[in-house]
Amino acid sequence: MSDVRNTAGPATVQGPQADARQPDDAWVPTVCMGCYNCCGIRVHRVAGRVVDVAGDPRAPNSQGHICAKGKARFRDLYQAGRVLRPLRRRNPEKGIGIDPQWEEISWEQALQTVTERLRAVREEEPRGLVIAHFDLPGYGISKAFGTAFGTTNFHWNRADYCGSAPHVANLLLNGSFNGELDLDLCNYMILWGTQLGHLAETIPLHAAHKMADARARGARLVVIDPFCTNTAAKADEWVPIRPGTDGALALAMLKVMVVELGRVDFEFVKRGTNGPYLVREDGRYLREARSGKPMVWDAAGGCARTFDAPELADPALEGSVTLEGTSAQPAFQLLKAHLARVSVEEMAEVTTVPAATIRRLAGEFSAAARIGSTIEIDGHTLPLRPAAIHFKRGSGAHKGGFHTMVSIHMLNLLAGNLDVPGGQRGVNPVGPFWSAHKDADGMLVPAAIITKYNRPYPPSQAAPATSFDLHELFPSSLFTRGLYPLGISEGRRFGVSYDAKVLLHCRTNLMMNSPCAQAMAETLRRIAFQASFADRIDETVEFADIVFPDAHDYERWDLFPANDMYAFITPGPGDWFWMMRQSVLDPPPGVKPWTEVYLELAQRLGILDKVYEIGNEAWGIDPAHRLEPGVRHSVKDIAERQARTLLGAHFSADAITETACFVTRPKTLAEAYPKPFLDARVPVYFEHLLEAGRQVRELAAKLGLDWDLSAYAPLPKFIACEALRPDGPYDLLVVNFKLPFQNHSISGENPWIDEISVANPYAYCIMLNRDTAAERGLEDGERVVVESRYGREEGTLKVTELIHPECVGIPGIFGHWAARTRLSRGKGAGFNNLLPAPHGGRIDVVSGQVDSCVRVKVGRAGGAPGRRGR
């Protein structure tokens, strides 16, 4: 009798380079890339094959845990459809459902073909090269390559799906790229169109544990979302809202807090914001003639002073003054008067959230903030504000994205909870080698390392576009990458003087994660030559002319650190830590990591030394470890030099055996809770938008754009999406949300993820509220068609109580159709295919965020099966 049917013993920890005489059995520490986060993991390799993966107990961001996506994805190494040889397209015709007629070619043929295309476009107009990927640690390589090549179009990813608007709000009010909550001390948390702490947002493992701890100690969680997501299911209160009206709800809550309750952290508004700055009737700051500095009224001194005058005793927030014939009011007074005109009842109609609920939420939130309370930490007395709101794409991806995000965030600001214990916190606006600072107006300017692409403040000069992301038209944005398709298709209208000729693409499925697959197909067809790096042939790779077989991230090294410190290290107290992605095993013969191929292409183009020159700066390599011209440095070699710069000359990439996470030191108090220590103000009044708006209006007139630019307003306002207007038979709004076990469009081919998705009651379904389904005579489990003016998707109906009755719910990015997809093809529906391609009426003119609101109708499926609308 065999008592033991499983025989695995305790794992041994060995280095990746095991002794050839010993049987290969090693747990190799590295960094997961199952999503954009960078959780520490250990990968179990036996006889050259990966058999398991677990969280790294020593990595602060995983602490030994792992999520479904991370656990499952080593199966992708051995997927049946993996690309193992370079491929060339034989069919010149490109389109959805068109067979590329691949033929295998040699690496030399593939490299030669791509090099020739690149050389030609570089001679003609280097900006004709577009680089598209969503491979965060690879950005360092592609940016240096693109810059050396001479193109500025090296960042087409999926920012339309991401947070063009939310990031701007965090940058302006926190000086950070992302936001979070103080899950240790916060007692009242609102998650607004996002799922922080539930495995579908940033720093997911750590946040999930902390969120569960917070709930266990009695913190109240409120979730505002049209669908009762996994997150809303765990909340004390789910507040369903009509999609696209989050800005209206925020305005109403601001009204209650400021006007009805008068519950505001006035001390913070006086000292930490531009609330006291005097504003003239034309909306601009009243400035001192001599210094040009904004003025405030000193209620104690009875006179106007510059905002930074040492003798300023009591900056006035209300009233009005006339100075030398110019009348002016404090910015806060304008905000308050503006909010006084907001009707809570009207906003209740707009949002479908009852007025009583709005008043209760605003009351609970502002009371829980305990304005005025303090806490002693390490001998410092800091404000304690244990109530906070977190927001992301769900509430932000709308026509009025900027105003919605800053309206919500202003609730945080007025509670005085920004970057203080208990409150909302920016993800590391201050770190070991970067810091937010202030400009001449005393206003917060984020660290340059965080706004290296564009910066929302101070705004840049508006100008005709020179790049396909059209960012020059958005002088107060962070990034506008969702506009690449518009720039590539219609760039001339916006000032772009050249065409896209070559696309280097990898690791982003543009066809599925962008609005309207048909329009994206048109965009891709415009680009004469596309080379893709891919481990499988997805819907976008089907448009490629050449395919390079790409490595799994277990088969590659990456630039160091793999975790962007201003996005992927939990804010608040803790350690600074830096993670190294190392190769666990060699790629299969004939497969190379795309980053290495970029360096190879750079060498063939004769720009490798220039890449190094740029890289030495951009990759933070100190003089002792500089990359030398004329040498072909591997990515591993470069990463080691970066790590030696940061961690010391003793660092060896070959000795990463226990953990791939390197802790340097604990954060200081000023790094953990930066706001009380930062001498920089944040805006309650967006004065900078007046000048930016003037420039954009002038530019729009010159370019003949009929864009509605009313969003360039200094006070928060509600801007309705076009989808909120009735449109005949299109009587519902479709909403999209993430599942904790699927990642974008890339996890659907994993057999384990597929299995749990099939078993899940919602994942591959189309959701309708029970009453809405009953009105239409539709029943649970039947096939339905969701149709907008732009596309049509079919799927299985799930009748549920968990969705707003005016909505249709479609989760994830599903409904694959690529010929070589095996498990995921035809499963679930594709939300993005119901959206139109971005155009002026659907773009937030401040942040460049693309609107995700669209009206649809739902009916019983009939007629020809298969995919329509594509």
Partner: protein, 199 residues
Amino acid sequence: MSRYAMAIDLSRCNGCNACVVACKVEHNGPPGILLTVILEKETGRYPNANRTFYPVLCNHCEQPPCVPVCPTKATYRREDGIVLVDWDACIGCGACIQACPYEQRFHVKKEAAARAPGGAEHENPGLRTAPAGVPLKCDFCYHRVDAGRVPACVEACPTGARIFGRLEGGERPINELISRRHARTLLPEMGTSPHVYYF
């Protein structure tokens, strides 16, 4: 000998399914068989609606109905309470599958044992793969437990919702949790005395 048990904190489970995949990996799990799943249930009417997440697995009962019905004694309970199946002794009659009131035993069909057609296989050579015909069930990852580790689902769980240990003794005796949190078991009226507790 004190029994092994699992306590599941339902307030911490958010339905992320990390445990389900971890279990699959740990058991060379054939397609179509999940030895632990998270049951989801809707409650209430909109807008006062919600859903609950309920992880289920073999209950490793004190009085396991699957044991006495086995004609070959292939199903047995170890002294530490873990209920196992000796695959070599199993004749595949399916009586235990019928007997389990929790429906937590799964028949390994031929095609499942052979894996999905054309699919890449996952074979951890350190683990034996279930042959066709036997019942597959949660085994509390006894091979890990015997080596001083916790079950794979417990290790993976990002929120720490699953707690594993001895009912008595040790640093975190499960009995202490059970009484402090008023934990309950599934179908107590069946008289099976499960060793999986919920609170």
